[in-house]
C-alpha cells in the first residue's frame, strides 16, 4: 500500500513540472490562438541549456533555471517574429505548419550538434526519507520550483500592468489596441513567456531524467494531455492538469510495464476530449 503512495507522491512531484510545461503551451493558445508545435523542441532546448551550463561551464544546476527563463523569453520573442507573427489572424493550419517547421529546424540543429545519443546531468540533492520511503531530492526541488514559477506567472498576469495587458489582448485584441496597448508587442511578449515556461520545464526535467535531442516529442504529447485535462487557454488549469497527469502516472506505474503508460495517457486524452471538451479544471480563464 505504502509503495503505491510513494509512487503517487513522486508522480505528483513530476506532474507539477508537466503542468509548468503545459502552461507555456496553453498561455500561447489562450492569448493568440496558436498551437505551438515547436513546444517539444523548446523543452529540449531547456534540457541542453542545463547540460551546457552544468557540464560544460560548471555552473550549479539550479542556476540554470533563471538563465533559462531569460533565455527562453528572448528565444521566444525571436521565434515569434520569425515564424508566428505573420500567421496571427490566419487559419490555424498556417500557424500549426509554421511552428511545426520551427520544431523541425530546432531538432535538426540539435541533432547536428549533440547527435541523438542520451545525455545525463548529475544533480546532487539530498533525498528525503519518510517512513522508510525515500523521495528523490531533485524531484522535490523541481516540483517546488515549478510551483514557485507558476506563482510568479500568476503575479505577473494578475498584478502587473503588462500582465493585465496580456489578459486584455487575450480577451479582445481589437479593444486592447483601441485602449492604446501595442498588441503586437504584447503578443510577442506572451509568446516569449510561453516559450520561457516550456524551456524552464525542460531544464527541470533534465535535472531528474536522462534525455536526448528527441525527448521533446514525448513532453509535447504530455502537454497536450495536460491542456486537455486543464482546459486549453487556462494556465491555472494547466498546473492542476499536470499534477493530475503525474498522479495518474504514479498510480499506474506499480501495476503495469512502463511501455503501457502512454496508452493509458492517450486513452485518457481521447476520453477527456469526448467527455469534457472544455477541460476538467476549466473554471477560470486567463
Amino acid at each position: 500500500m505504502i509503495g503505491i503512495l510513494a509512487s503517487v507522491i513522486d508522480g505528483i512531484l513530476i506532474g507539477a513540472v508537466y503542468g509548468l510545461a503545459a502552461m507555456g503551451l496553453t498561455l500561447i493558445w489562450g492569448v493568440m490562438n496558436v498551437i505551438n508545435l515547436a513546444h517539444g523542441a523548446i523543452v529540449v532546448v531547456g534540457m541542453f541549456v542545463l547540460y551546457m551550463l552544468v557540464s560544460a561551464l560548471g555552473l550549479p544546476a539550479y542556476g540554470a533555471v533563471p538563465v533559462m527563463i531569460v533565455l527562453g523569453f528572448v528565444i521566444g520573442i525571436g521565434l515569434y517574429w520569425i515564424g508566428v507573427h505573420r500567421m496571427i489572424g490566419r487559419p490555424e493550419l498556417m500557424s500549426l505548419l509554421s511552428t511545426f517547421a520551427l520544431n523541425m529546424v530546432l531538432i535538426g540543429l540539435g541533432t547536428a550538434w549533440w547527435t541523438t545519443s542520451p545525455y545525463n546531468v548529475q544533480v546532487n540533492m539530498p533525498s528525503v526519507s519518510w517512513r522508510g520511503y525515500t523521495f528523490t531530492g531533485t524531484h522535490i526541488t523541481a516540483a517546488a520550483l515549478a510551483v514557485v514559477i507558476a506563482g510568479l506567472l500568476y503575479l505577473l498576469l494578475y498584478h502587473t500592468r503588462i500582465g493585465k495587458a496580456v489578459r486584455a489582448v487575450a480577451t479582445n485584441r481589437e479593444a486592447a489596441e483601441l485602449c492604446g496597448i501595442p498588441t503586437t508587442q504584447v503578443l510577442a511578449m506572451a509568446f516569449g513567456l510561453g516559450v520561457a515556461l516550456a524551456g524552464v520545464s525542460g531544464t527541470l526535467i533534465a535535472t531528474m531524467f536522462p534525455f536526448t535531442v528527441l525527448s521533446g516529442e514525448a513532453y509535447q504529447l504530455k502537454s497536450f494531455v495536460v491542456t486537455v485535462l486543464g482546459g486549453l487557454g487556462n494556465p491555472a488549469g494547466a498546473l492542476m492538469g499536470g499534477i493530475a497527469l503525474g498522479l495518474i502516472e504514479g498510480l499506474a506505474t506499480p501495476f503495469m510495464p512502463v511501455s503501457w503508460i502512454p496508452i493509458v495517457e492517450f486513452g485518457l486524452f481521447v476520453f477527456c476530449l469526448i467527455a469534457f471538451p472544455r477541460g476538467i479544471f476549466s473554471f477560470t480563464k486567463a
Binding site: R167, A168, T171, E177
Partner: protein, 238 residues
Amino acid sequence: MSEILLQVEGLEAGYGDVQVLWGISLKVARGTMTTLLGANGAGKTTSLRAITGAMCPRGGKVVFAGEDVTWLPAHAKAARGLVLVPEGRQLFNNMSVEENLEMGAYSRRARQHFRQQLDHVYTMFPRLKERRNQKSGTFSGGEQQMLAIARGLMAMPEILIIDELSLGLAPVVVQQLAETLKGLKASGVTVLLVEQNLHLALALSDYAYVIAEGRPFLEGPSAEVAAKPEIRQAYLGL
C-alpha cells in the same frame, strides 16, 4: 470657426473584396460635438474604425491635431488622444471594472494622469465606483456602456468617438448618458457621435454629417439638418 481637430478626406475602406467606403470626408472642430448619421449598413462603424485605426483604410487621409495619422496603428492613435468607444462596448469581460479602466489608461500620456482621471470618472459614474472590483461581464447594458465610455475617458481623449451610444438601452439610461455627454462637452472634450436615435443625435450635436452607402449624402449644422426632408430618405436607406 475654431481649430479643426480632426479632418478626414476621401476615406476609403472595405472588407475583403467588398469596398464599403467610397470617399468619406468630415471635419470636427475642437470643443464641438459632431454626429455621423446614416441608415443601417451605411458605413458609420466602418468609418469610425478606419479613422481610429481599428481597421486599415484603403485610401484617403486622416489628419489629427495637424498630424497625418492615416497609417498609424490604433494604439498609436489612442496614445495621441484619438479614442474610439467601439460598437458593442467590447469590454474586457473577465477583468474587473478597475482593471478595464487601467487598460484604458495604458498609453504613457494617459498613465501619468491615471489617479486623477480615475477619480474623475468615478465621480461621473458612481455606480462604477461601487462595483470597481466586479467583473464587467455581469453588468447590465447601461452599466457596460458607462464603463465603455469611462474606459475611453481614461485614455485622456482629445476627441472621444462613440459608436452607438444608446443601442439596446432603456430610455432612462439613454437620458442619463445624454446628460453625461453634455457634461463632457461643457468640460471641453470634443465628441464625434454615431447614434441610431436621430432626434437625440441631432439634439446633442452642433454639426451633422449624413452618409449613404458609404458616400457623403448631406451635411450641415444639426438644427438645419434636422429640418431637411432628405434626412428621412437617407434613414430609410433610399
